[in-house]
């Protein structure tokens, strides 16, 4: 294995080319040129769309994710949603902390009432 790798490196050195790949610069340029920064309806729309599609995907594959009851499902979804919100804020798709936390909080409220409702249904 080591022999093979050293051969590869030797050939790469022999090619005498330089690899310049600066990924952070590429991403920064992409964000600058596409001018995606927004703090209004487009950002909210993308956030809700992403969250909803993830929710549907996870809900369909409940068994593969080993999510047995409603509590586990909501705890998992809350973690997923805070990650999505964070990434969306970081890339300035929704550059407004208030709106990210607003949508997250609304989802938390829904989760609480769904847990109470499910418990009632299971017993009755």
């Amino acid at each position: 294995m080591a022999n093979n790798l050293s051969e590869v490196f030797n050939t790469l050195n022999a090619m005498n080319t330089t690899f310049e790949f600066n990924s952070t610069e590429i991403i920064a340029n992409a964000i600058n040129y596409s001018n995606v920064q927004s703090d209004n309806w487009i950002g909210i729309f993308i956030f809700i769309l992403l969250g909803l599609s993830l929710f549907i995907f996870i809900n369909k594959n409940k068994n593969n994710f080993k999510l047995n009851n409603d509590l586990q499902m909501s705890l998992f979804m809350l973690n997923v949603l805070i990650d999505v919100g964070f990434i969306i804020y970081q890339f300035r798709i929704l550059a407004n902390v208030q709106l990210v936390i607003f949508i997250y909080t609304a989802f938390v409220g829904l989760c609480v009432f769904s847990v109470i409702q499910k418990d009632k249904e299971e017993v009755n």
Partner: protein, 151 residues
């Protein structure tokens, strides 16, 4: 009865996760973003006041805990001071747990403040409505869980 308690514990687990994630996002956002707008800055300060249990000295919950723990030279001192020092540490952790519990109990208050922040720019009305919502939520929980009955 066991099912009632289970439901309440589930609700408080969601509240606890909400608190942790809010604290995480509020800590991380100023670190990743150098140019926060004024609007966001005031919102972050507002939420910091709400989510961290601010004590009398203006310390947050975690600050109080960290300051309460250390006792210098605890095992090199007299026997009595060692004994009292250990009690101080136990009391600090009990105080932390009680404040954490209170912090989790007022989560409906925080949620309502966040939901209304965009529409009402007045902190007095926000806090009053938060208290009303808190009382309303717990009476609702009491009614649903104990009166209507999850048997």
């Amino acid at each position: 009865m066991a099912n009632n308690i289970k439901t309440i514990v589930k609700v408080f687990m969601i509240f606890f996760l909400f608190q942790i994630s809010l604290s995480a996002i509020l800590t991380a956002i100023p670190l990743i973003n150098n140019d926060i707008s004024e609007e966001d800055k005031s919102f972050i300060l507002f939420l910091n006041d709400k989510t961290n249990f601010i004590g009398t000295d203006g310390n947050t919950l975690l600050d109080d805990f960290v300051q309460g723990m250390p006792n210098e030279g605890i095992f090199n001192d007299t026997l009595l001071n060692t004994f009292l020092g250990i009690y101080k540490i136990i009391a600090a952790s009990i105080k932390f747990i009680i404040e954490l519990v209170l912090d989790i109990l007022i989560v409906p208050n925080i949620m309502m403040s966040i939901l209304l922040y965009n529409f009402i720019g007045n902190s007095t009305i926000l806090s009053v409505s938060g208290i009303v919502v808190n009382i309303g939520f717990y009476s609702f929980l009491y009614y649903i869980v104990f009166k209507e009955g999850i048997r």
